[in-house]
Symmetry: C2
Subunit: 416 residues, 2 copies
């Protein structure tokens, strides 16, 4: 592509173009960080008012029934299910990814302990999102039964690392830093061939790429609603357990929301039948209610259409950075092959942090991840082709004028 007009033409022909109107996009901003925090759906502000003024303010305690608060984790789980290839009553929206991972990794380890107790290895990638590794470490230390966390440095090492000693392979489908995407069906098949269980983290894939959990035969999954699903800052996570596993496992965070009859006040825990047993305590209803506003936008399209536009946006970004910023030391980190990447693209630059700060100061919002990585997320519900063009032009301008060297951008902050 050589002109901005070509990008504008792609937007005019984009079948998803009207969905952008349903998001509250800030002015003067090109937001390429929906892989970290999705944009607010316009419906969210009104929904919050309804929950606060009518459901909480007027109906108060009665809303646990009348407004369906108590059923929200299951009802919204069912609304999310089609986006990830899950069945009815296989998903709950609740807690955080880390807490849900603790539940499901515990359940998986216990299930393997019954099936084949000599398996004492959990496999993952050293480049996995650190919290997933931390949770595995916390669980292993607590169990104190000689579990080992086997980490590989490159995805290509996974097939060898997953051998007959492995209890669970805990894999994040799309890498948060590089954007590399695993072939879920193929890797799950290998994991099963070796007798292990497959636990998938969908943080960077739910709402970004079509996921087929049941079709791929996966065993467990967790994921995030505040990235591509636009659920709001820190909105609750989800947990998926297929029907075949639901009633054969119990998880240790056995709070009252997972009890078979929570209002009978029985002093002994009895897990609910089905997906309900993966709930624990009372959920933050205002944050959870807003998740529905994001999910409702997905009902107006489908993941195949989203994937097509996502691939086109990512391809265009790579093409433009490599053609128009070729004078600068930018190295593509993300796989060039569409089938091997999610919906974000990362480039390394030796002074990546400062470059990203300069971009943000000019209204192009991506983010930075150690070490040296500039990360740009493409969210087909609201990102336009012209945004890609303008972002690359701004990047070129930043690099050409070296404004990123200005000292005010050199103080490193905490979160980006």
């Amino acid at each position: 592509m050589n002109t901005r007009e070509e990008a504008v033409a792609l937007d005019s022909a984009d079948p998803l173009r009207t969905l952008r109107d349903q998001f509250a996009l800030p002015a003067q901003t090109i937001y390429l960080d929906g892989n970290s925090l999705g944009v607010a759906p316009r419906a969210a502000a009104q929904r919050a008012q309804t929950v606060i003024a009518a459901e909480w303010g007027e109906s108060l305690i009665r809303s646990w029934n009348s407004a369906g608060w108590f059923a929200l984790p299951r009802r919204l789980g069912n609304k999310l299910a089609p986006l990830i290839g899950a069945g009815e009553n296989e998903v709950v929206i609740t807690d955080t990814i880390s807490v849900n991972l603790f539940k499901l990794l515990s359940a998986a380890v216990n299930l393997q302990n019954e099936r084949d107790p000599k398996r004492r290895v959990i496999v993952s990638e050293r480049s996995n999102f650190p919290s997933d590794l931390y949770i595995a470490q916390g669980l292993m230390a607590q169990l104190d039964r000689g579990y080992e966390l086997r980490l590989v440095d490159d995805p290509s090492e996974l097939p060898t690392a997953i051998d007959e000693d492995v209890a669970v392979a805990m894999i994040t489908q799309v890498n948060y830093r590089t954007g590399y995407m695993h072939d879920m069906a193929a890797l799950t098949k290998h994991i099963h061939d070796k007798g292990a269980l497959a636990l998938w983290d969908l943080a960077h894939s739910a709402g970004a790429v079509p996921v087929d959990l049941n079709g791929s035969g996966a065993d467990f999954a967790v994921g995030c609603t505040y990235k591509y699903l636009n659920g709001g800052p820190g909105s609750p996570a989800f947990a998926w357990v297929p029907k075949r596993h639901q009633n054969e496992i119990v998880q240790p965070l056995s709070g009252w929301w997972g009890h078979r009859a929570p209002f009978e006040m029985d002093p002994t825990y009895a897990p609910d039948t089905g997906i309900g047993r993966f709930l624990c305590g009372t959920q933050g209803i205002v944050s959870m209610s807003l998740v529905e506003c994001g999910l409702d936008v997905f009902l107006q399209t489908d993941m195949q259409a989203i994937r097509r536009k996502s691939q086109a946006l990512c391809d265009l970004f790579i093409e433009l950075v490599e053609s128009r910023c070729d004078a600068f030391p930018l190295t593509l980190v993300t796989p060039r092959d569409q089938a091997q990447r999610g919906s974000h693209v990362s480039f390394e630059h030796p002074e990546g942090y400062a470059v990203m700060q300069a971009l943000i100061a000019r209204g192009v919002i991506g983010d930075y991840r150690e070490p040296h990585v500039l990360r740009f997320g493409f969210t087909p519900l609201y990102t336009r082709f012209v945004d890609v063009w303008d972002a690359v032009e701004t990047l070129r301008d930043v690099l050409a004028t070296e404004s990123w060297r200005a000292p005010e951008f050199m103080t490193r902050g905490a979160v980006t």
Copy 2:
């Protein structure tokens, strides 16, 4: 008291009377269920709009720093601390009571395991809120090291049950059903004399009665923000760990928010120094932000003034029920002694569920707990003496006309 005018006079003389204006109370309703879900502070609706439209909508990802989202669990924890006798940097607001209980009970058990590994008993009350018992059961099953949950049927049995075999006593200060309140200082001293650790659940005491965690020498505590603290439906819970314990224990839910340097993306967990290590995953920011609106009302008074009014409201309710409803089979469940109760009062009635449904239909909202218990919460920030008078008159009228026998009230719902 013999006339409604006397109640009106008490309200006129009430030093807390103006605080009621800061709450969005529904019309035609006497709300005596703030011990289950507190009323919405008027500030909450506007605060939600600010978080959604400005912080999320406009500033997006930058709000993790600029709006202080990442610091919220600690900042709000410090705001809550004075209400429960906790010090600076000893409280975090995060997750749910059940999840926090799992963290702290695990930590307590591990700490005892280092000090005196033969101790294998966790003591609690059979009448404790069931989720607390469920969490202990889930943890014990997971540890699989021969722990025993020893439950007593009456608070008077606790001193004997807490012996040299006990690792942890897990006690809820105010019983959710009866309103019975333990003497935290005395019981903690006994627990320590026997070499055990004291873990307190403050669900029905934070914001309801003055609590002095450090003064009583307690070891750990969890609690709730959606009852007397008016944080909103399912708003996040809190965890308290005193400075003397913070760095000697690690909890198993070791997510990235509890890491010493969460943005360095180190693949190995290293717990934060201090209270931060009791955090786990990313929190629902909209729900958490609203907790501040409730806490801000408490800054305008103090727990001693709240306690005085609470005791007067409870005393008046007991007096009026016993004098004006003496023709009916109501039995006081809550201790008559002010020092032995929190801020709710329970009466048993053989058809308690139907009576409560009839009361609710007439706009007097208390709640029902199995078996037979009518529960009425008194929240001095917004409950008036005249509300107590009117509630008892309505109760008498319901019982006298036997309208609670009407068949439409006889279908038992899930949550009340």
